[in-house]
């Protein structure tokens, strides 16, 4: 478990974890989240890097009350399903809010937040979360 927070194995996913950069298939339009050589739907190699919109819609959410070892420090925390305009969906933490303030259908926006840290001497791991839109 700890192996995953070695700097290099976190850094190689920086495009997705910091900016929700994904691979959109130029042939069929499918969004492939993590790096790969071909589209999962049509196997085209023509995948274009694209940043998902900063804003999406909260489809559903729950509260993690039984967390993993790496994330227990922040528990309980909210996990939500966020859908973008094109129908792409990601499961992500919802931050900067209490569950009582959330409504399904509300607009949420991407922010970078701390995910965990690797002991006292390892790296502090950041990544995107979403929060209710601050107007």
């Amino acid at each position: 478990m700890r192996f995953n927070f070695r700097p290099q194995s976190h850094w190689r996913f920086k495009r997705f974890r910091y900016r929700t950069e994904v691979l959109r298939c130029a042939s069929c339009g499918t969004v492939n989240v993590t790096p790969r050589p071909v589209c999962r739907r049509c196997r085209s190699r023509n995948l274009l890097r694209e940043e998902l919109p900063e804003r999406g819609r909260l489809v559903a959410f729950t509260v993690v009350k039984s967390p993993t070892e790496e994330h227990k420090e922040l528990a309980p925390y909210i996990v939500g399903l966020v859908e973008f305009e094109d129908g792409t969906r990601v499961v992500t933490q919802i931050t900067d809010s209490d569950p009582e303030e959330l409504r399904t259908g509300m607009t949420v926006e991407r922010v970078v937040r701390k995910i965990t840290h690797d002991g006292d001497s390892g790296i502090i791991v950041y990544g995107f979360k979403f929060r209710p839109l601050v107007s």
Binding site: T62, S66, V91, T92
Partner: protein, 388 residues
């Protein structure tokens, strides 16, 4: 292709085995199965364990199991396929016996999870999700179950009580079963009043960490065993399929295509229809997963599995009894061993050895094993010797 028969089964009680190692548990289950089958030798050892390198710091475990059984110079392999590791090992053993590569295969699954603290267990279990996009960010299997649960309640406009009936049935079936983790009844209000894990999902709607091991002996149709025809069960068909790892990347998150396709293919290979099944094992890791499997597998119409449950379709005395020994919720879910327990229990039903859980006249049964929320699904259809 040769026909493949189940000729013996063995298993340990599921629970907390503080004094026994993973190897000991798997060896105990294996010896029980070998003795039950009355075979002189096995020439292939198929070991299913989902997390042995994490929980027991052990790689290359198949050789350890073989040695612990007093077997030397046999083919030994370990198979890992998330929560469906056990079904995957059965599929590999089936292929080897059917092809003639192996005559007698021992398939044993085992897991040792009770040494872990709850948050450590959650870390390990979260490995069954795509780590780079979900596990990394603190998304847990229970939180995915909760999101699917909400979607299901919303789409079919039913109260939570309908889904929470599933664990009640499982505990009913496990009552008094000596190998079950939780051999007692629970009431619906106990389920709905248990602590929230990830709302709406509650503690008594989730399987619990445990230790356990189960084993099955496969033999080719022309291999000699001490078994009479009434004590062997033919594998009619077995099939496994993968799917996109996130349910939310699929056309419908509430439909498990992997389950649908593996059930269809396993039935097709068996030459029987759904209606001919007398008993069914489903992977109820979380309460919501049972209805998703029953609907994806075509046993209930979409949105109808909970009403079907209420009408007793899936009860012991119903049209298609499910999880007659308590399923993952109450018999227990020692990940890599679970499909072996499922197949062993179907075997007991089809050979008239299911004791007070015996379904009268059971001739055909099936076990459905799933990893995650349909990332991998496998179905084994089993037919009694007398029914052919």
């Amino acid at each position: 292709m040769r026909n493949v028969h189940v000729v013996g089964v063995g298993y340990t009680r599921i629970g907390e085995h503080w004094d026994e190692s993973l190897t000991e548990l798997m060896a105990e289950a294996s010896l029980a199965a070998i003795e039950d089958a009355g075979v002189e030798r096995v020439d292939g050892v198929y070991v299913a364990s989902t997390f042995c390198e994490v929980t027991n710091n052990q790689a290359g475990i198949s050789a350890l199991i073989a040695e612990a059984l007093g077997l030397r110079s046999v083919y030994g392999v370990r198979v890992e396929g998330g929560e469906s590791s056990g079904m995957m090992a059965l599929m590999e053993a089936y292929a080897a016996v059917a092809s003639g590569l192996v005559d007698f295969a021992l398939v044993v699954g085992g897991e040792k999870l009770s040494d872990l603290l709850p948050d450590e267990f959650n870390s390990v279990h979260s490995m069954t999700l795509p780590y780079d996009s979900m596990g990394f960010a603190g998304v847990t299997p229970a939180s995915i179950a909760a999101l699917l649960y909400r979607a299901y309640l919303e789409r079919y406009e039913i109260p939570q009580e309908f889904i929470a009936q599933f664990p009640v049935l499982m505990h009913n079936n496990a009552e008094g079963i000596s190998h079950a983790q939780f051999p007692f009844k629970v009431k619906l209000e106990d389920v709905l009043g248990s602590p929230e894990v990830a709302p709406p999902l509650r503690r008594l709607e989730c399987f619990a960490p445990c230790d356990g091991a189960a084993a099955v002996i496969f033999a080719s149709e022309d291999s000699q065993t001490k078994r009479s025809s009434g004590q062997t069960v033919r594998i009619g068909g077995i099939s496994m399929k993968t799917d996109y790892v996130s349910p939310f990347d699929r056309e419908d998150p509430l439909f498990m295509t992997s389950v649908a396709l593996s059930v269809d293919e396993a039935l097709l290979r068996s030459g029987i229809s759904r209606g001919e099944l007398d008993v069914l094992e489903v992977h109820d890791s979380y309460s919501i997963v049972a209805p998703l499997i029953l609907e994806s597998g075509g046993f209930s119409s979409r949105g109808e599995s909970c009403p079907d449950l209420k009408m007793s379709k899936y009860a012991l005395e119903g049209e298609l009894p499910i999880n007659t020994f308590g399923g993952l919720k109450a018999r227990g879910h020692p990940l890599g061993a679970t499909a072996l327990y499922q197949v062993a229990e179907v075997y007991l039903q089809l050979t008239g050895r299911a004791g007070k859980r015996q379904i009268d006249g059971a001739r055909a049964g099936a076990a459905i094993s799933v990893s995650g929320f349909g990332t991998i699904a496998g179905t084994a259809v089993m037919l009694s010797g007398e029914g052919e």
